[in-house]
């Protein structure tokens, strides 16, 4: 039996999403075509747009379909920067939190390297939560040069929910548009785009039970975005590319189902997560929970630990061979594990950061999964620790 504890990487598709996909995918029709088949496809696309917008507190016209979270983040960072610079050439600063996903960080670094942007990495505290004072200070001093601000709704590694209310109100004072990557948040915590005051927000399909290859950037009406991908002029000319009605119907169905089920699912999974955290800390007393201890400040599906003296990849291998699937939580380059930039930004030293493991639960998780992990973990940690020592001789 496989114990799947990597829902933050991707989670099983929801039944409604599978149904919507299979119902639709045999039908022909390019949503941009004017004939009957095209009109039928367009109708599916637009109904999906309306459904997704309704589930997330947005207007249908706010929704820009993309191929996933990464594309939406790229469009937000690059599109906002270019649009703002066109309007006011002195706005060159891109402000992002130091714990952003690579889909935000890397475009921001790329813009700094290739387009003359000035990158400002905003610090976080030891829980991985944005340092609002540092943001205030940055905006007080350089608010006039800020092109955009991007702070994720919740961190994908350590689950820290970010103080978006304060971020938005500070940014508004300085006229700086705010983007949030909400890929991990939707379906776990209430997400209302209009109420958030955000200017743009990223959503991804496969993280919440939808199909891979789907995502959206919600961009409030009137927000100036320069296109990144040019072509047939779909999506208000901001994001060209033929839309896939079946994928979008499935994506919208998943968002609808995940958001509707959240009031029931999230507390159930949060309770399992609390059990997991307590169980892991009891089984491995020197494990350190990373991210906020206060569960109201953390994603309900997320648990993240560092295990002193262990290498994350050893832990992963040993768990995998025991049928338990987890993640180190950080991105790899060609499969090479690197200490997580999130943990480093939180002040964790590089050595401890190497022993990181993220356990992320989801809608299919059960108490058996948690029990299996807690039963297996002590021997795995002992062995990984011995291997860690072998490596340093």
């Amino acid at each position: 039996m496989t114990v799947y504890l990597d829902h933050a990487a991707t989670t099983p598709m929801l039944p409604g999403a599978v149904l919507a996909l299979t119902d639709e995918m045999a039908r022909t029709g390019n949503p941009s075509s004017l004939h009957g088949s095209g009109r039928a496809a367009r109708r599916v696309v637009e109904e999906s747009r309306e459904s997704l917008a309704a589930a997330l507190g947005a207007r249908p016209s706010d929704v820009l379909w993309t191929s996933g979270g990464t594309e939406a983040d790229n469009l937000a960072v690059k599109g906002l920067f270019w649009a703002r610079r066109r309007e006011d050439p002195s706005r060159l600063r891109i402000l992002v939190s130091a714990v952003e996903h690579h889909a935000v960080l890397d475009p921001a670094f790329w813009m700094a390297e290739h387009t003359g942007a000035e990158l400002v990495l905003l610090p976080v505290d030891s829980d991985g939560v944005l340092d609002v004072d540092a943001l205030r200070d940055e905006l007080d001093r350089h608010g006039e040069q800020a092109a955009l601000l991007s702070v994720m709704w919740a961190n994908n590694e350590v689950g820290a929910l970010q103080p978006l209310d304060e971020v938005v109100s500070l940014a508004r004072r300085h006229g700086v548009p705010v983007h949030a990557d909400a890929v991990q948040a939707v379906g776990q915590v209430p997400v209302d785009f209009a109420a958030s005051g955000l200017d743009a927000m990223t959503v991804s399909g496969h993280k919440l039970g939808g199909p891979g290859g789907t995502g959206a950037l919600l961009a409030r009406r009137g927000l100036d975005l320069m296109p990144v991908q040019h072509g047939g002029g779909q999506e208000r000319g901001v994001r060209s590319g033929t839309l896939d009605a079946a994928l979008l119907a499935s994506f919208a169905a998943a968002v609808d189902e995940a958001v509707a089920a959240r009031p029931v699912v999230a507390p159930r999974i949060a309770a399992l997560r609390d059990e997991l955290v307590a169980g892991v800390l009891a089984a491995v007393p020197d494990a350190e929970l990373r991210g906020p201890v206060d569960t109201t400040r953390r994603l309900p599906f997320n648990a993240h630990f560092t295990f002193p003296g262990c290498e994350g990849d050893s832990l992963l291998y040993l768990l995998d061979s025991a049928g338990i699937e987890a993640s180190t939580g950080s991105a790899c380059q060609a499969g090479v594990p690197r200490p997580s930039h999130v943990l480093l930004a939180m002040g964790v030293d590089e050595h401890d950061a190497r022993g990181a493991l993220r356990f992320s639960l989801g809608h299919t998780s059960s108490a058996d999964d948690v029990a299996a992990l807690v039963a297996t973990l002590p021997a795995v940690v002992d062995r990984a620790r011995a291997a860690g020592l072998a490596g340093v001789r």
């Binding site: 990849d313 050893s314 992963l316 291998y317 040993l318 995998d320 061979s321 790899c332 380059q333 060609a334 499969g335 090479v336 594990p337 690197r338 062995r383 990984a384 011995a386 291997a387 020592l389 072998a390 490596g391 001789r393």
Partner: protein
């Protein structure tokens, strides 16, 4: 057995892993990341260090249906193999980084970690044979295919590590057979070219690599009488036996080509002389590692470079030191033996052990 198959991304290690799977072992593929910055080492498809190689290794694991991991051994690699490479050249010696990698990384850091994680053995694509004796102890032998034989670079491993190693390609009659087997198994690396260069020298320019890391250290090139015949920009760029690239202003008195005879690190001199002066018949070495420590004098054959020809010799062992005297006469003498090289002793096809050359000389008078 639980077997860790080291997957370089090349054809040999992939076929070796496949054979381990066929033998019924529980196999996990591991690709070693040896460079911190992924583009530092060469980026072509010839080495074991590029992103493309990591991808090829991963694809091979997929085809074999085995788990695949990348282990970051870059720190150990830099601290042992690369550091040793630089300090040896700086000291006027000629290191073999593949031997050091087998000594410190593959059959040390990798093997130790594997054993600690519960693996019984490490499997690699080296061409060498393991013969298990009746009492269960093991012998390391040359591969069936002499052209591919890699027992020379494995001789450093010693008996405990040999007991935990598998070389499934030792009895392959030729590399072409390995390639054909890879193709038959659907391994896309079947036609990938072999790697010959030093994997951490990105462009194959060893001298450039050394110059960049060690800096310019100008000195004299002298003949064996001590007369200055040229200048160099760093003695580390020269290897005993080297003929090309000496750029000497004056030809030798006898008009014959000149070779590097030795490097003198103390006064930063490169000594050159005739081909004849390169020939030695006594080689001393230390840091000996034996599969079985020989008692007294041993008749054996010795080899001083990876693809060198073995020559008959008598070895005298004294602790971790060994001195070999060639028994075939000067006609069979070794040409261009440099301190730092690996001296490997064989009894027929069986590896006795290896040591690191400290000095060499000519005992017999020249004819």
């Amino acid at each position: 057995m639980r077997v860790l198959a080291a997957l370089s991304g090349g054809v040999d290690s992939a076929v070796a892993a496949a054979r381990a799977v066929d033998a019924g072992h529980d196999v996990v593929g591991v690709h070693m990341a040896l460079s911190r910055t992924r583009d530092q080492f060469r980026t072509g498809s010839r080495g074991c260090c590029s992103i493309e190689d990591a991808g090829d290794a991963r694809r091979a694991a997929d085809v074999l249906g085995i788990p695949y991991y990348v282990w970051d051994l870059s720190e150990q690699f830099e601290q042992t193999v690369v550091a040793d490479f630089l300090s040896e050249y700086e000291a006027g010696r000629t290191p073999n980084p593949c031997v050091r990698c087998n000594e410190h990384i593959k059959f040390a850091a990798l093997l130790d970690k594997a054993v600690a994680l519960g693996f019984d053995a490490v499997c690699t694509g080296h061409y060498a044979r393991v013969v298990v004796r009746d009492d269960g102890t093991r012998e390391l032998h040359r591969a069936l295919d002499a052209a591919k034989d890699q027992s020379y670079v494995l001789a450093v491993m010693g008996p405990e590590r040999l007991a935990r190693s598998m070389f499934p390609l030792g009895d392959v009659p030729s590399k072409e057979v390995t390639r054909a087997e890879a193709a038959a198994r659907g391994l896309s690396v079947s036609a990938k070219p072999d790697s010959y260069d030093i994997c951490f020298v990105a462009d194959g320019d060893t001298q450039g690599f050394l110059r960049a890391r060690l800096g310019s250290q100008p000195g004299d090139i002298v003949d064996s009488d001590g007369e200055v015949v040229g200048a160099h920009d760093g003695a580390y760029a020269y290897t005993v036996g080297q003929r090309r690239g000496l750029a000497l202003g004056r030809p030798a008195a006898d008009g014959k080509p000149r070779y590097v005879l030795s490097i003198e690190p103390v006064n930063n001199r490169v000594v050159v002389g005739s081909a004849d002066e390169l020939v030695v018949d006594v080689v001393a070495a230390d840091r000996a590692v034996w599969f079985e420590t020989p008692a007294g004098d041993v008749e054996c054959s010795v080899q001083v470079r990876a693809h060198g020809v073995p020559v008959a010799a008598r070895a005298r062992v004294d602790g971790d030191r060994v001195e070999v005297t060639l028994t075939g006469g000067l006609g069979d003498g070794l040409r261009g033996v440099a301190p730092g090289q690996s001296l490997v002793l064989f009894d027929g096809t069986r590896v006795l052990g290896q040591a690191t050359v400290t000095s060499s000389r000519r005992a017999m008078a020249a004819r």
